[in-house]
């Protein structure tokens, strides 16, 4: 169930999305000798009625609000040199999407941290080929996912994110999109299980192994490592 009130961190009201400042080509005139005018950043009505996020707004939100985020992941590097580098972004986007989707059990930012460890070892510029296109960045968002996140006629009912392939290597944008996608995976897992999926089951769905849990030893092995790390972050 989404919380359709405007999130206080958003720049635009519901039904509108942020358009960054950009150049527009116009006819050459005395006022515009080079034929280009600057369009100031503004909110634009969204005819699809989806809430849409673009890079500029995602950066604005992180810059303005993430220093005071309520719940941060544990400051434990999990043995990786860059393990704590993204804690603020993890905390911020987890809180944002928890506010938007209002799940019965809020997503714990520690789970995002262990997912990043599993997907990329906290390497921002990493990519891997996969069955569903290239997987990019911290949370290894695939090309197929990138397209779905943008598609106004696709499987997402709302809260789309429009980013370029290159933008997925930006840790802030990658996490904004990846965590939003995880919420969709939780929805799909719940549908599959015919009950509210736990977040660990949502992560299994994210990794494509939900249906294999308890039946396939190597899938269980992957999840076991995740659970051990999560236990470590959950322990005071």
């Amino acid at each position: 169930m989404t919380n359709k009130k405007q999130h206080p961190w958003r720049k635009c009201p519901i039904g509108e999305h942020w358009v960054r400042e950009h150049e527009r080509k116009i006819g050459v005139s005395e006022k515009n000798l080079d034929g280009v005018t600057i369009v100031e950043a503004h909110c634009r009505k969204n005819p699809s009625h989806h809430e849409i996020f673009v890079a500029d707004e995602l950066h604005e939100i992180a810059k303005k609000y993430f220093k005071n985020v309520k719940t941060m992941p544990k400051a434990d590097k999990l043995g990786y040199p860059h393990g704590n580098d993204f804690d603020e972004l993890i905390g911020g986007w987890t809180q944002f999407w928890n506010d938007i989707f209002n799940p019965k059990e809020p997503l714990d930012p520690n789970l995002i941290k262990v997912l990043i460890a599993s997907e990329s070892s906290f390497d921002v510029n990493i990519s891997a080929n996969s069955t569903i296109g290239k997987a990019r960045g911290l949370i290894q968002v695939t090309e197929q996912t990138r397209k779905i996140l943008t598609d106004q006629d696709g499987e997402l009912k709302d809260f789309l994110i429009t980013l370029s392939k290159k933008e997925f290597y930006d840790p802030n944008l990658n996490l904004a999109a990846g965590i939003r996608w995880l919420f969709h995976k939780q929805y799909l897992a719940s549908h599959r299980l015919k009950r509210e999926a736990t977040w660990m089951e949502a992560i299994a769905e994210y990794k494509g192994i939900l249906s294999q849990l308890g039946k396939v030893k190597r899938s269980d092995e992957i999840m076991q490592k995740l659970k051990e790390r999560y236990k470590r972050l959950s322990t005071k």
């Binding site: 043995g79 990786y80 040199p81 390497d123 990493i126 069955t131 990794k207």
Partner: protein, 162 residues
């Protein structure tokens, strides 16, 4: 006789070397291990016929432990089989294979008894599971991540990268 003695010693030495394990680097979270071809295997494991998924996996024997290196993610079986072909090409006509992995599990009982792997991988008591980083032979290198064979990515994320 002396010639045959020397020849005998040489044959035994070469035989032992080709079966020997070389550890280039090891810590509690990292392994860089080279084994002979006989002590290595790779295949698409856990083929799920219903959902057509499987996972790329690699095996190296060291003493009485089978090291298992798994991909970070599962994939469609036809994709995995294409990968299997590419990795097997790298290990064709070579005598030594080098594997790098991170983040091991605890040493546990060998569970390969029911897997379609050569018998010699089933007889060892223990196995240890790693996250696969890359495979190298004299024919080349192939890694999970696109840049995984770059020298600065040697430690697979465990040490500061450039």
């Amino acid at each position: 006789m002396k010639f045959f003695e020397i020849l005998f010693i040489l044959v035994v030495f070469i035989g032992c070397s080709s079966h020997s394990v070389k550890i280039y680097n090891r810590s509690d979270r990292f392994i860089d291990i080279e084994v002979s071809k006989e002590d290595f295997y790779l295949f698409c494991a856990d083929i799920d016929k219903k959902e057509s998924k499987s996972i790329m996996s690699f095996y190296a024997i060291e003493d009485n432990v089978v090291h298992e290196f798994l991909f970070r993610s599962i994939s469609k079986t036809d994709w995995c089989l294409k990968l299997q072909k590419k990795y097997r090409k790298l290990t064709q006509d070579v005598s030594r294979i080098r594997l790098i992995g991170i983040d091991p599990s605890q040493k546990k009982k060998n569970t390969l008894k029911t897997d379609p792997v050569p018998e010699r991988f089933k007889v060892y008591s223990y196995m240890k599971n790693w996250v696969f980083i890359r495979l190298e032979t004299e024919r080349g290198c192939k890694a999970y991540f696109d840049t995984g064979c770059d020298p600065e990515k040697y430690w697979g994320g465990l040490f500061p990268q450039k």
